[in-house]
C-alpha cells in the first residue's frame, strides 16, 4: 500500500525534510534523528525495495538532483574532514535549488554576504556532517541486486555510461561501478571497507580544492544520508539452521552442493569441492586469540585451458554474494596496486583504492594461470607481500605519507595454480586436483535450487564469524584429544603436528556449519579427518 506520506518521501524528499524542519525548530532532539525516524517509518517494512537503487545499471547520471535513492555501498575512504553546514538553510541541502528548478523557488538564493552575516550572528546554527567516499560493493554478484533491489526500470543510457573520473577509488578501476561522496548527518561511525545500505538524497556538489581558493568546476555525485541499515556480511538475509526442502536431510543438501560444484567447476573432484566450500564460508572467528579463516590453493589446476579457472569463478559467483577475481599475470602484478595508498605524487591527497580493499566476507579467487616467465618489478614484489599478509594475518596496510595504518580484513582465498605449489603464496591448505575421468552429466540448476543453495551457504557463512556458534560436548572434546594422542603415538610424531590439529578443528567447525548442525558431531569430525588423510596422501604422491 502506498500512503501519501510514502509517495511524498519518494518523490519530494527535500520538501519532506524541510517540512520536518519547520515543525522541528523548537524541539530538543537533533533534526537528523527526527528525519531518520520519519524515513525509517516510511520504508522500514518491506517498502525499502520501492526506493530506486543506485548501482551500475542505475548510475547517478540517470537521476536528477534531489532524488531519493538507495545505495548498497562499501566505505572506501574516511579521511576527509567533516564539513560544516548551516543548519537553518535546510539540512544543508540548499544547493539543490540551483540545479533543480522544480523545487519551490521561494527559498532565497543567498550570497557570500548573507552567509558571513549568518556566520557572525548565528554560530550555533553551524553544524557538522561526516563526509566519506563510498563505492558500490566490489565483486558483488549479479543475483544480489536482483533479489534485494526489486524491479526498477533500467535506463538505456546506463549500459553505456563509462567509469567515473574517480575510478582510482575503486578496487577494480576498469570495471563499471558507482562512486559517491556520502554526507552523513547522524553520529554513526563509518569505517573503511565496511558495507552499508544507505538511503538518501542524491545531489551534485563541487569537490573541495583543499590547496587553493578556486573550486573545481566539475561536480561529484553526493548522497545526503537520511538513514542507513546495517547489512549482514552475507548481504542476503540468512537463517541457521535452515530446514531443507523436499524432505532431504541436512547432510544430503550439503552433499548436493558439493557434487554440483565438483561436477560443474572442478572436473568431478569431490575432495576439492569440499575444501572450496569450507574455505569460502570461513571467516575470521576472533582477533584475540587470532583464529583466521583457512586459505586454500588448488594445485595441479588445469595447465592447458584457461577456462577452468573462469568456470570456478562463475560457479562461486552463482553461490556467493561477493566474489572477487584476481587474474594474476606479471603485468597485473607489476601495475595494479593491491594495497590502498595516498601518495604525494598525484595532486590530490585522495586515498587510492587497492585490489584487496574488499568488503568483509568476499571470496577472492586468485588465478595464477596467466603467470609466465618475466621480471617482477618493485610494485609486483610489494603486491605479493601485501597479499601474503592479508592471507596469513588478515590485515591490510593502507599507505599514507610518512605512515601506514593496518586495517582488518576478512577475506577467503582460493588460489588456483598449475604447478604443485603456488610460486608466490603460502596457504594453510594445498589440495592437488584429481579430475575424475568420466564427467557425470549435469542437469542445470533450477532457480529454486539455486536460491536454496545460496541461502544455505549464506546461513553457514553467517555463523562462521562467531567463535562459539557450535558448541562442543565434553565427550567430543575428550574424543578429539585422545585421538590426537593416539595418532601421534602411532606415527611417532612424524605426521601430526599441533598445527594439523588446529586445522582439523577449524575444518570440523566449518563442516558443521555446512551441515547446518547444532554441534560438532563425531561424524563431522571423522569426515574431516578422512578428508585430511586423503589430502595428505595426494600430497605425498606428488
Amino acid at each position: 500500500m502506498v500512503t501519501a506520506a510514502l509517495s511524498d518521501a519518494l518523490s519530494h524528499p527535500i520538501q519532506v525534510v524541510r517540512g520536518l524542519q519547520s515543525v522541528h525548530v523548537s524541539s530538543s532532539t537533533p533534526l537528523s534523528t527526527v528525519v531518520k525516524k520519519h524515513f525509517e517509518e516510511q520504508f522500514g517494512n518491506g517498502n525499502l525495495q520501492k526506493v530506486p537503487p543506485l548501482d551500475v545499471n542505475h548510475p547517478p547520471s540517470t537521476y536528477t538532483s534531489g532524488s531519493l535513492v538507495r545505495f548498497r555501498a562499501m566505505v572506501q575512504d574516511t579521511s576527509a574532514s567533516p564539513e560544516i553546514y548551516i543548519s537553518n538553510l535546510g539540512y544543508g541541502l540548499d544547493s539543490v535549488l540551483h540545479t533543480n528548478s522544480s523545487a519551490e523557488g521561494a527559498f532565497n538564493m543567498h550570497t557570500l554576504q548573507d552567509a558571513l552575516d549568518a556566520g557572525t550572528t548565528g554560530r550555533d546554527k553551524w553544524k557538522e556532517r561526516i563526509v566519506f567516499w563510498a563505492v558500490s560493493v566490489p565483486g558483488e554478484s549479479e543475483w544480489v541486486g536482483k533479489s534485494l533491489d526489486g524491479n526498477h526500470p533500467t535506463s538505456i543510457e546506463a549500459s553505456t555510461s563509462s567509469a567515473s573520473s574517480m575510478a582510482h577509488k575503486f578496487p577494480f578501476p576498469n570495471t563499471p561501478h558507482v562512486g559517491v561522496l556520502v554526507k552523513s548527518y547522524g553520529t554513526t561511525e563509518f569505517k573503511p571497507s565496511t558495507v552499508h545500505d544507505l538511503v538518501g538524497i542524491l545531489t551534485f556538489d563541487p569537490r573541495l580544492n583543499l590547496l587553493g581558493d578556486d573550486e573545481d568546476e566539475d561536480l561529484v555525485p553526493s548522497l545526503h544520508v537520511l538513514f542507513q541499515t546495517p547489512l549482514p556480511t552475507t548481504v542476503v538475509k540468512a537463517a541457521y539452521p535452515m530446514p531443507p526442502a523436499r524432505s532431504r536431510t541436512r547432510l544430503e543438501v550439503k552433499d548436493e552442493i558439493v557434487k554440483w560444484l565438483a561436477a560443474s567447476a572442478l572436473r568431478g573432484d569431490l575432495l576439492a569441492a569440499e575444501y572450496v566450500l569450507m574455505c569460502c564460508i570461513a571467516r575470521v572467528q576472533s582477533r584475540s586469540p587470532f583464529l583466521p579463516p583457512p586459505s586454500l590453493q588448488l594445485s595441479r589446476f588445469s595447465s592447458s585451458s584457461d577456462s577452468s579457472a573462469l568456470t570456478l569463478q562463475q560457479c562461486l559467483e552463482t553461490l556467493f554474494p561477493i566474489v572477487a577475481n584476481l587474474p594474476l599475470s606479471i603485468n597485473y602484478l607489476n601495475q595494479t596496486p593491491f594495497a590502498p595508498s595516498s601518495s604525494l605524487r598525484d595532486h590530490s591527497e585522495d586515498l587510492r583504492s587497492g585490489t584487496l580493499q574488499l568488503a568483509p566476507g568476499t571470496v577472492v579467487v586468485v588465478d595464477e594461470h596467466g603467470v609466465v616467465e618475466g621480471k617482477l618489478g618493485d610494485q609486483g614484489v610489494r603486491n605479493i607481500a601485501t597479499m601474503q599478509s592479508v592471507i596469513t594475518a588478515q590485515t591490510l596496510a593502507y599507505a599514507f605519507p610518512f605512515s601506514s595504518y593496518e586495517f582488518p580484513t576478512d577475506l577467503s582465498f582460493v588460489i588456483t595454480t598449475s604447478g604443485s605449489k603456488s610460486p608466490f603464496f603460502n596457504t594453510d591448505i594445498n589440495v592437488p586436483l584429481q579430475p575424475v575421468a568420466a564427467l557425470p552429466s549435469l542437469s542445470s540448476l533450477s532457480e529454486d535450487q539455486l536460491l536454496e543453495y545460496r541461502l544455505w551457504l549464506a546461513g553457514a557463512k553467517s555463523q562462521a564469524a562467531s567463535k562459539n556458534a557450535v558448541p562442543i560436548t565434553r565427550e567430543m572434546a575428550e574424543y578429539i584429544q585422545s585421538e590426537f594422542v593416539r595418532e601421534r603415538k602411532e606415527a611417532g610424531g612424524q605426521s601430526l603436528t599441533s598445527d594439523d590439529l588446529s586445522l582439523r578443528m577449524t575444518l570440523a567447525k566449518l563442516e558443521t556449519y555446512l551441515r547446518h548442525d547444532a554441534e560438532i558431531t563425531k561424524e563431522a569430525w571423522e569426515h574431516v579427518v578422512s578428508l585430511e588423510k586423503e589430502r595428505k596422501s595426494r600430497l605425498s604422491l606428488q
Binding site: 579521511s79 573503511p192 583543499l210 599478509s389
Partner: protein
C-alpha cells in the same frame, strides 16, 4: 575615556583595557609568577641558580633582544598570561577573539618597543646614545611588530568543530605537503588609463573591489582603472596540509588532514615530514562554486590561519634535519618562547602531568600502566599475556618479553675521538624448531605488539628489501631512498620468518645490523649509513624437515656460526612425542577453538593495547643502572658459566661462555629491571637473566654426543668433542694413505670412507670426512685429483 567606540563589536572586549593590561604585562611579568602558577598546578621546576633570576622582567629582556637583533616577532606563551592575575581575562579574550585581540597586542608591543627605546636612550644604554638612539627609535616606528601567541593546550584535529570557528586553537600533526609560495595581494594599485590618477584599494574579506570608474571628479571615465601589478602590495602565503599523527587516529580509522594557511615569516618554515604544534585561528569560509559568481552553497571549507609554529620535541624526531640545507631550525622565528621555555617545558613533562600533551587518553593509559607495574607477579602476567593462544613455551615467551623491553644502550661518552663506541642494548632472539610449532604465530604476535615492529619473511626479502632501496620517482625523475624493514624498525623489533631461507647476501647485511646497528648503502650515487637500532626476532627451520637431536645445532640449521653467535638467546622449539604433553596440548587447542576461554592465561591476561603501552612506557622512561650487588652477581654467574667447561679428568677446556654471553646477560638483566619499572638492576634481575641464559644455552649449545654444554658449537660451529674426533679421523686418514704406499696412485674417495668405516665402530660422516680432507689439502699433506665419484686422494710425500 572614550570607551564606547573601543569595544570590539558584539563582545564585551574593551580595546583600551586590553591594550593597557598587555602593556603592563610586557613591563612587569617576571618568571617567578610563572613558577608560582606552575607550582599550583603541580609542575615542578628545577631550582633557580640565583634568587634574582625570578625577578627579572623577562619581556623587557626580550624586547631589548628584538631591538638589538632587528626582529619583529615576539613569541608569547599564553600560559604566562594566565600566570599573571591581571591578564587572566586577556587570556580568555585571546582564545575567544584572536582576530581582534592579536592586532591590539601588536599595537601594544610596538608602543612598548618605542617606550623602552626612549627609556634606554634616557639612561644611555649601550648603542642608544644620542643620535644613534634617535635613529633606532625612528626605525622602530617604521616597523610592523607581531605577537605570536602559543602554549595553549593542543586539541585533536578531529575535535575541531563549528563552535571553534574564529577561535584560537592549537593542534599537532605531521606535515604531509606544502604548496609553493602563493603571492597574496594585500593592496591593489589602480591607475586610470586616461588621466593616470592612481587609487589604492585594500583587501576586504578576501576580495578586492575594482573601482568601476575613475574617482577623480574631472575624469569620471568608466572602466579605465587598470591594475598595476608591480606597484601592488603582496604578502607571502602558503598552504600546508597537516595530518594526524598515528597515535591520535582512532582504531580502524584513516587519518584526517587539515589545511593550514601560513603567512610571511612562517612561510617555508615547515617541510613535509615535520611534526609540528601549530597555533592558529580556526576558519570556516563558504565555498564559491564559481569565482565569477557571488552565489555560494551552504558548503564550507575549514582551515587554520596560523599565528605560531612550533616544532615538536626534539627527542621525538621532530624534524628531519637532512632536509635542511643551511641548518635553519624551524620554529626559530622571533624572540622569546622556544629556547627559553624549553627547560620549563621539559620540567613540566617530566613531572608526569602530561600538561604539554593535554591528552587524557594517554594520561589514563599511563595511570593504568603504573598501577600494573606495582603488581608483584607482573613478570608472569606479562609473559602470559604475550601470545596467549600459544601453548606453554613459557621460557621462550619470557625471553621474547625481555627482548621487547631491551637493555639500555650505552656509549662511552669520553672515549677517544669524542664519544666512543656505542654498545647495543637490543636483544636478539632466534627460534629454531620443527615445522608446525607455531613459531610464525609468535612472530606475528610480537610484530603486532612491538612498538615499531616490522615483519618480513626471509624467503621473500632481498638484501635491498631489508635495508633500503633506491627508486626513481616517476614524476620528478629524482632518486628517492626508501627504507626497508630493518631501517623501518629502528628502535623496535624486526621479526624475520624463515631466517634460514635468506640468501647469503641478505644475511651478510645482518652481520652489520646485529653488532654495529647500522645499515650502509652505496648505490646509484647515494652513499649513506642509516641507523637500524633494532632487535631481531628470527625463526628458522632445521635443515632436514625435522630437527635431528643427534646432530649439534650448527648442523641442524644452515646458518653461519658467526651470525648464530650474535643472537643473545637461541631457543629450540621441538615437537617431541610425549603422551602427557600431547594430551595437554590437544586440550589447550580444543579449548581454544571450541570453547570460551583459552586455557593458558585465561584469567590474568592483559589486553594487547595495555601491553604495548606498558612496553613503550618502560622503553622510554626507565633506564636502569646496574648496582654493585648486581655487578658482582653478574661476574659470579659468568665465572660459573665458564667453569662448567673445566673437566678435571682431562686437561681440555670446553668453552661454555664467552664475553658475548656476559654482554647478553647484562642486557637481559637490564631488560628485566626495566620490565619491573626499576631504575636499578638488582641481584634478582641477574638471577632471572642467568636462568634464561642457562635454559637457552642448555637447549642450543649442548653437544648431543657428550651431553655437555659447549659454546664453541655456536661460536665456531665445531664442538670440542667433534674437534677431538676430527683429530682422530685425520690421523686415521694419513695412516691409511701411508699404508697404501706413499705418493703413488692414492686412494679413491669412496673407498677411503669405506675402509675407515671398517676400522672404527662409529660410522664416518661424509661431511666430516670432507672437512678433514680439505684441511689436509690446505696444509699440503694430501692432494685430491679428479672430481665427483672419481675423486682420488693422494698423499704428498712428507719430505
Amino acid at each position: 575615556m572614550d570607551d564606547v567606540t573601543s569595544v570590539v563589536w558584539g563582545t564585551n572586549v574593551s580595546i583600551m583595557e586590553a591594550m593597557r593590561t598587555f602593556s603592563e604585562f610586557l613591563r612587569e611579568f617576571k618568571p617567578k609568577y610563572r613558577r608560582a602558577h606552575d607550582a599550583a598546578k603541580g609542575i615542578a621546576h628545577p631550582p633557580m641558580l640565583r634568587m634574582e633570576d625570578g625577578e627579572v622582567p623577562v619581556y623587557q629582556t626580550y624586547l631589548r633582544k628584538m631591538r638589538l637583533t632587528g626582529q619583529t616577532n615576539l613569541n608569547l606563551d599564553a600560559e604566562n598570561l594566565l600566570a599573571w592575575p591581571a591578564t587572566r581575562k586577556l587570556h580568555s579574550q585571546l582564545l575567544k577573539y584572536p582576530q581582534e585581540i592579536i592586532p591590539v597586542m601588536d599595537t601594544a608591543l610596538k608602543d612598548a618597543m618605542i617606550f623602552l627605546a626612549a627609556d634606554d636612550k634616557e639612561t644611555g644604554a649601550l648603542g642608544m646614545e644620542g643620535d644613534l638612539g634617535e635613529e633606532e627609535i625612528r626605525e622602530i616606528e617604521g616597523k610592523v611588530y607581531k605577537v605570536r601567541p602559543f602554549g595553549i593546550s593542543a586539541v585533536n584535529m578531529r575535535d575541531l568543530n563549528p563552535s571553534d570557528t574564529d577561535k584560537l586553537v592549537s593542534i599537532k600533526g605531521l606535515v604531509i605537503r606544502a604548496t609553493p609560495i602563493i603571492p597574496d595581494m594585500k593592496q591593489a594599485f589602480f591607475r586610470c588609463l586616461t588621466c593616470s590618477h592612481t587609487v589604492q584599494v585594500e583587501i576586504d574579506r578576501g576580495r578586492i573591489e575594482e573601482p568601476a570608474r575613475c574617482p577623480r571628479d574631472v575624469c569620471q571615465s568608466l572602466g579605465t582603472m587598470s591594475l598595476i601589478h608591480n606597484r601592488s602590495e603582496f604578502a607571502d602565503r602558503q598552504i600546508i596540509r597537516l595530518q594526524e599523527t598515528p597515535d591520535k587516529v582512532p582504531d580502524g580509522q584513516t587519518p584526517h588532514t587539515v589545511s593550514l594557511c601560513v603567512y610571511d615569516e612562517l612561510v617555508d618554515l615547515a617541510k613535509p615530514g615535520d611534526r609540528l604544534t601549530v597555533t592558529g585561528i580556526f576558519r570556516s569560509i563558504p565555498v564559491r562554486v564559481n569565482p565569477r559568481q557571488r552565489v555560494i552553497k551552504s558548503l564550507f571549507k575549514t582551515y587554520l590561519d596560523i599565528v605560531h609554529v612550533k616544532r615538536a620535541n626534539s627527542q621525538r624526531l621532530g624534524f628531519d634535519s637532512s632536509t635542511r640545507s643551511e641548518g635553519k631550525v624551524p620554529g626559530a622565528i622571533g624572540v622569546g618562547g622556544e629556547e627559553a621555555d624549553e627547560a620549563e617545558h621539559a620540567a613540566g613533562a617530566a613531572a608526569g602531568t602530561g600538561g604539554a600533551d593535554g591528552l587524557s587518553r594517554t594520561a589514563e593509559m599511563e595511570q593504568r600502566v603504573l598501577e600494573l607495574a606495582q603488581k608483584p607477579d607482573i613478570y608472569d602476567i606479562l609473559s602470559r599475556s604475550l601470545a596467549p593462544s600459544i601453548w606453554e613455551m613459557d621460557d621462550v615467551k619470557k625471553g621474547i618479553l625481555l627482548q621487547l623491553f631491551g637493555g639500555t644502550n650505552k656509549s662511552i661518552a669520553r672515549g677517544g675521538g669524542g664519544g666512543g663506541p656505542r654498545y647495543r642494548g637490543d636483544i636478539n632472539v632466534l627460534l629454531v624448531g620443527d615445522p608446525g610449532t607455531s613459531k610464525s604465530q609468535i612472530l606475528h604476535y610480537v610484530h603486532k605488539i612491538a612498538p615499531r615492529g616490522v615483519y618480513t619473511s626471509g624467503k621473500g626479502s632481498s638484501a635491498v628489501g631489508l635495508t633500503a632501496y633506491i627508486t626513481r620517482d616517476p614524476d620528478s625523475k629524482q632518486l628517492v631512498l626508501e627504507s626497508g624493514a630493518l631501517v623501518l624498525s629502528d628502535g623496535g623489533v624486526c621479526c624475520i620468518d624463515e631466517f634460514d631461507k635468506m640468501s647469503d647476501s641478505t644475511r651478510s647485511v645482518l652481520h652489520e645490523v646485529m653488532e654495529q646497528q647500522t645499515v650502509s648503502i652505496a648505490k646509484a650515487g647515494i652513499i649513506t649509513t642509516l641507523n637500524a637500532r633494532t632487535s631481531i626476532l628470527a625463526a628458522a627451520n632445521p635443515v632436514g624437515s625435522r630437527y635431528n637431536v643427534n646432530w649439534p645445532i650448527t648442523k641442524n640449521i644452515d646458518l653461519p656460526p658467526t651470525l648464530l653467535s650474535r643472537f643473545d638467546l637461541l631457543y629450540l622449539v621441538l615437537d617431541k612425542v610425549d603422551e602427557v604433553a600431547d594430551r595437554r596440548l590437544a586440550k589447550h587447542l580444543v579449548g581454544l577453538y571450541l570453547e570460551d576461554a583459552p586455557e593458558t592465561g585465561g584469567v590474568d591476561i592483559i589486553p594487547v593495547e595495555l601491553l604495548t603501552a606498558y612496553i613503550s612506557y618502560a622503553r622510554s622512561k626507565v633506564h636502569p643502572q646496574i648496582t654493585a650487588g648486581a655487578s658482582e652477581a653478574l661476574v659470579r654467574a659468568y665465572v660459573d658459566l665458564r667453569k662448567l667447561g673445566e673437566d678435571p679428568r682431562s686437561g681440555e677446556r670446553r668453552i661454555t661462555a664467552t664475553t658475548r654471553q656476559l654482554e647478553s646477560m647484562i642486557r637481559l638483566s637490564e631488560a628485566h629491571a626495566r620490565m619491573r619499572f626499576s631504575e636499578l638492576v638488582e641481584v634478582s634481575d641477574v638471577e632471572e637473566a642467568n636462568r634464561l641464559m642457562q635454559e637457552a644455552i642448555r637447549t642450543s649449545a649442548t653437544d648431543p654426543r657428550t651431553g655437555l654444554i659447549d659454546m664453541e658449537l655456536i661460536n665456531t660451529g665445531v664442538g670440542q668433542q667433534q674437534r677431538r674426533m676430527q683429530g682422530d679421523l685425520r690421523r686415521a686418514v694419513l695412516q691409511l694413505l701411508d699404508a697404501q704406499g706413499g705418493g703413488g696412485r692414492g686412494v679413491r674417495w669412496t673407498e677411503a670412507i669405506r675402509m675407515l668405516g671398517q676400522q672404527s665402530s662409529v660410522q664416518v660422516d661424509a661431511t666430516e670426512f670432507a672437512d678433514v680432507i680439505r684441511t689436509l689439502e690446505t696444509e699440503g699433506q694430501v692432494k685430491v685429483v679428479g672430481d665427483r665419484e672419481r675423486r682420488t686422494i693422494r698423499r704428498i710425500a712428507a719430505e
